[in-house]
Every structure is written in C-alpha cells, then in structure tokens.
Amino acid sequence: MKSNLERVLREKKFAVTAELGPPRGADPDNVREKARILKPYVDAANVTDNQSAVVYMCSLAASVLMIEEGLEPVFQITCRDRNRLALQSDLLGASALGIRNVLLLTGDHPSIGDHPEAKGVFDLDSQQLIQLTKKMREEGKLLNDRELTKSPDFFIGAAASPFNEPLEAHMMQMEKKVESGVDFFQTQIVYDLEKFKKWVSEVHERRIDEKAFIIAGVAPIKSLGMANYMKNYVPGVSVPDAVIKRLEKASDKKKEGIKICLEVIDEVKKIKGISGIHIMAIGWEEAVPEIVESAGLFPRPAFKE
C-alpha cells in the first residue's frame, strides 16, 4: 500500500513533513508526545538517525513508536553506522514493521559528533544504498542477487543540497540519485531564497522535478545564537546577513524566527517544481502546529482507505 506521503504528493497536494528527533534515552513517552503534537499537522515525520553523528534512540524504534501513535514515519537511515548487511536487514525489518517511507543518507562523519573516535562504516554510500533499496523493492533481491521471501515496500527519499558549491557537482549527484531510483527529495534548510530559486531553475532545466518530488526544507530560528551557528557550522546551510540582522533587531526572537520561516514558506509555495515543505524544528516541535496553521496548510488532506 502507498504511504500517506506518497498519496499526498501523487495527488498534487502541497505536502507537509516535519522532523522528529528521538531522545537521548530509553524513553518512549518522549517520542509519543512529540508524535502527538505533530500528528494532525503533517503528512509524515522524519525520524533522524543519530543526527550529526550524535547518539540518540535508534530511528527504527522511534519510527515504530510513531506508528503506534498514528503518525506516519519517514525512516532515516545512514551508511555511517551500518555495513551492507545491517543496512539490508534493517530495511527489511523496517518494512515488516509497517514503515513505508525511507530517507537514505550517507551520514555525517563521526568526527563531528559526540563519539569522534567512532569508526565510520561507509561500506556503501547513499547512491549505492538508493540503488540497493530500489532493487529490493522492484526485483525482490538483495545486493548479492539472493531472492527475498517478500520485497520491502518503500517510498524512497534522499537528501538534496541546494546551497553547496560547486552547483554543477551537486546537480550531478542529484541526477545520479534520480537514476538510481529516488522518488522524493528533501532539501537542506532554505533561508536564502534567491540562491534557492536559482537552484530550482537548474533542477527544472535538468527535468529532475519531473522524475522526483522535491520537498523544500524550512526551519524556524529560535535565537540569534542558533542563526549564527547555522550560518557558520552547519554544512550546506546558507543564512543571509539580512536574516541575522532582523533577528538582532527583534525583541521577541522566537516570534521573529517563526515570521521569517513563514515568509520562506510563502515564497517556496509559489515556486514551480516544489511539491511541499519539510519543517526541521528539532527540539522545538511545538512550533510546528503554529507554522502549519499560519501558512494556511491546515487541515492536512485525509484519504479514505
């Protein structure tokens, strides 16, 4: 059966996804609570996989907790912590547990995380993982061609980097991912609309948007510190000086942060080739309902079985 996210996108409704960061602890209620907050406002929520190479509850377990709360997960899985055996068995397990969306990532390098001495596996990369997942789905076979008793059923997602230079190198990566079997992309967070529009027109030129859905990443900024951190330290995020200035001036930083986010959403909605937004408010999940409502994206589409 198709995932809810896939149905929303295929029926050309503007999709809304959010991000759910699992806790640093064995605490199911933390996930359940965030899931309850997000559920009415999004079509599916991504569960991050040891985000930024920092240890959290595993994304598979958190995805299952979300399903129990009635929120559809986008199961994120990276090549950093698993070799090809573990990647394949985790994907099979995820499908068996009812997960229908996956986001396949290379993963951040362990040296930037909280266990910098950890061995980064990188036995496969995201390109190869996409090919492999598609092969399991379409051909019912493992990497080594052994037959599966049942194919996993996934809507396959990947990351896109609109702000990384050189543009051409990262465009090639996107084209390769599409060729390998990606159904949808979620982009890095957009603040720099000018650059983003340039990127989308390049994507359009190469007709990537005809072959895969593109969901634009957005995120409310909570404080000036966070804005500066993102500008300087988060790979692939571009925060224009104008945004920093606005936050400097604002007396209520959070309110201004949400306002900026809403302006970005407004612009992004108008861009041809963009099929939805992905709200990355990790640690600030409570902001999502307000953003979705104020952006005029509530209620979310519902499908009869």
Partner: protein
C-alpha cells in the same frame, strides 16, 4: 612511501626503562625519508633516553638496516642483537613485525607510530594518498584517490558536507570529491563519474600476494 612519526618520549621510556641492553634499529627506507628512522633520529633518541632515564639505565647500541621489512636484510644484523635484551625498532609496523619474527627471544618495541601511505606535500608536511585497497580506480577519478582523501572514502561523488572546496570534517581539509570534480571537468572527463559505481568487491581479510612468475617454493 610509508609515513611514520616517532612516539612521544615518555611512551618509549616506559618501554625500555628496566632493560639492561637495548639495540636501537633504524630503517633506511621510507621512514628515514620522512625523518623518523635515519642516523640523525637514532642519535637524537638515544641521547634523549640517556639524559632522561634514571639509573640504572640500559646500555644502548645502534644499527641501521637498509629495509627493516625484508627478512634477509634483518637477518644481517643478528650479531648486533646477541648482547641485548630488547630491540627498539625505528621503522614502520612491518619492520617491527619482521624483527619480532626473526628474533623471537628478544622483546621488540615499536618506537614509531606508522601513520599512512603518503607523500610529502611540503617540507615537514605529509598527506595520506593511498589505502592499499587492492582495487585501484585512479584512472576513473582524475588521479585523485577518494578512498584515502575523502573523509568517508566515498566512491560516488561529494556528500552534502562538501562546500566551496572544503570537507565537512574540517575547514583545513580539502574535499577530495571537489578536487576530483574539478580535475575531471578540466580534462573534459566528467562522464567518468556520471554513473553510480557499484559497491566495492574487495574482501577484507588478511591479505597475501603471490606472483607466479617469480615465486619459488623451496621444497
């Protein structure tokens, strides 16, 4: 070449402090070229040990082999080892293991940390450029090795951490995939990386190389 550096003096002192006689063995090949195992380094290390160890301290001797990785060349220094209890080996890990095999009754200590397979970029600055993976693809990547020079050893182009020529792990480290991209673009060979390369087929287990054309099995 194999690049190595001398261990911290304290660590070496701990190894040899209770020994009566210690033979310092240098190697005159790769690690001598990177200033870690030649005559000068042996002299310097012996002086430092002599000055900093407390009495009773070991008596030291020195000898340099041409290549500490080759059993035949190591056997040539047998005479030097007779009197000593321990050998302090200034060579890469291969040399340390060869000495341990040839002189099983002696304690053999590594004086160096073997760093990587690399080359000097400037005086006093070396870079890793090969991981001895066993399946060379340099003809497809513009002569730049992604397995050693990309932090994640990726085979299929830059990750999302690559930006303006730098790698996500450090602003001081160039992104190997951007270097590959630029080099191939200059050569008009971007098609080399347009298709996704398959997962690597090298099996990682203890490796041996046998060349039938020169192999002699003494029966």
């Amino acid at each position: 070449m194999i690049v190595a550096e001398i261990k911290p003096l304290e660590e070496i002192k701990e190894m040899v402090k209770d020994k009566k006689g210690v033979l310092l063995v240098g190697c005159n090949t790769c690690t001598a070229v990177c200033f870690s195992s030649g005559k000068r380094e042996l002299e310097l290390l012996q002086t430092q040990l002599d000055l900093s160890l407390e009495n009773p301290k070991p008596a030291f001797w020195q000898v340099i082999v041409r290549r500490a990785c080759e059993p035949e060349m190591v056997t040539e220094i047998s005479d030097y080892t007779r009197e000593v209890e321990a050998i302090l080996c200034l060579s890469c890990g291969i040399g340390v293991q060869t000495l341990s095999d040839i002189f099983p009754k002696k304690q053999v200590f590594p004086a160096l940390n073997t760093s990587f397979l690399g080359r000097p970029e400037k005086l006093g600055f070396w870079q890793e450029v090969c991981v001895a993976c066993g399946d060379c693809i340099l003809h497809l990547t513009g002569g730049i090795c992604p397995l050693s020079r990309c932090a994640k050893g990726l085979l299929n182009g830059p990750c999302g951490g690559s930006h303006e020529g730098k790698c996500e792990v450090s602003p001081d480290i160039p992104c190997a995939w951007e270097e590959i991209f630029t080099r191939l673009k200059e050569k008009n060979q971007l098609n080399m990386i347009r298709k996704t390369k398959e997962p690597r087929k090298v099996i990682r287990k203890p490796r041996y190389l046998l060349r039938e054309d020169i192999f002699e099995d003494e029966k």
